[in-house]
């Protein structure tokens, strides 16, 4: 586990396999320290494939002054030596646009597969809006199809996740509380 939030807020955690960046951090310092960390780590792990999960990617807006630029620089560290050691990096990113509309354009462009998750009363519905049926056609012109939420149904719907795939789970923004739901009688 890589604890970005705790690193930025100076909350120290002495837990095995929980990694933090120490010392002073701002956008630029974070990118430098992060790429050093990732490069050192990828030298120690000997594997062909790695899965990355992020929760939430849209949290970068809370931590960085220039989230769009910094988030891109973080992603581009992969090209600087990591991809040679671990050739197949796949990722599932969770994103909520209320948190960070600044990175939406980039994160959609980056992702091979986009799953949009809507709330319908108490049910969550998921739709693949990019990738899946024809991964080479990258512009999400219309809803491709509805799927059940979860890694297994997603994997089945896609017919297996291809190498190097980045999957974006776009969570619908929470609904604005209506006047009715707050009229509690005290």
């Amino acid at each position: 586990m890589f604890d970005v939030f705790g690193s930025f807020k100076g909350i120290e955690r002495d837990l095995p396999y929980v990694y933090q960046l120490k010392g002073y951090l701002d956008d630029g310092v974070f990118v430098t320290k992060y790429s050093d960390f990732v490069r050192a780590l990828s030298g120690r792990i000997s594997t062909r494939r790695i899965w990355l999960f992020s929760y939430l990617s849209s949290g970068v807006c809370k931590l960085f002054k220039n989230p769009k630029k910094t988030y891109q620089l973080i992603w581009s560290t992969k090209a600087g030596g990591v991809a040679d050691k671990i050739p197949d990096i796949r990722a599932i990113l969770v994103y909520d646009s209320t948190d960070c509309p600044e990175i939406e354009n980039f994160i959609y462009t980056l992702s091979d597969i986009v799953v949009e998750v809507l709330r319908d009363n108490f049910e969550r519905r998921a739709y693949i809006t990019k990738g899946g049926l024809n991964p080479r056609f990258s512009i999400p012109l219309k809803v491709v199809r509805m799927i059940k939420l979860g890694i297994k149904p997603l994997d089945e719907a896609l017919g297996g996740v291809k190498e190097h795939s980045y999957i974006l789970l776009h969570e619908e923004d929470p609904p604005a509380p209506s006047a009715v739901s707050w009229s509690l009688s005290l």
Partner: protein
């Protein structure tokens, strides 16, 4: 871009809004052999993002703008690297029988780099530079595709009036 390169045409890719390793990775995922086209000089990449913030990819076919970048100087610096690469195309006799395309991605980024008013100023000056500079007078000129994303602003209106064709792509309608 993939089709144009496969047909052996010439492309200048102006990278503005992304750290260059990312568009390169995206192109590779779409089966564009970026390194091969950079080596053969068919593809030139002008990396504005990397010139401003890094990282830089030092290799044949990738160009950086030198010194500090202001909106007043930008179009002249572009013209200098365009001329340098066009000189290579000329030396290798590559203009003959090939189409020339310029792709700028995304021009909307100039507003966040320089501010909307300055970005507008840049586009107005750049039209003038393209008319006068040797890079455009002494070498063949191509067809440009400008990618604009996000909400329309004054820069968009100005570009909209100037271009011959506008193609609008739709995003997803689920989570607006």
């Amino acid at each position: 871009m993939k089709n144009k390169l496969e047909e052996d045409n010439l492309i200048g890719f102006f990278n503005i809004s992304h750290a260059l390793p990312i568009p390169i990775e995206l192109m590779k995922k779409r089966d564009i052999n970026v390194e091969e086209y950079l080596d053969s000089l068919n593809l030139a990449m002008i990396d504005t993002f990397g010139s401003l913030y890094g990282p830089r990819i030092e290799r044949r076919g990738v160009w950086y703008l030198s010194g500090s970048l202001s909106y007043e100087l930008l179009s002249r610096k572009y013209a200098d690297v365009v001329r340098a690469h066009k000189e290579l195309w000329k030396k290798e006799n590559m203009f003959e029988g090939r189409e020339l395309w310029g792709i700028a991605m995304d021009v909307s980024e100039y507003s966040s780099i320089f501010g909307e008013a300055n970005a507008l100023g840049y586009f107005e000056v750049s039209a003038e530079v393209r008319r006068r500079h040797k890079a455009y007078r002494e070498y063949p000129t191509g067809t440009n595709i400008w990618v604009f994303s996000g909400k329309p602003d004054r820069v968009f209106s100005s570009l909209y009036r100037r271009v011959e064709y506008v193609v609008r792509t739709g995003g997803s309608e689920l989570t607006p």
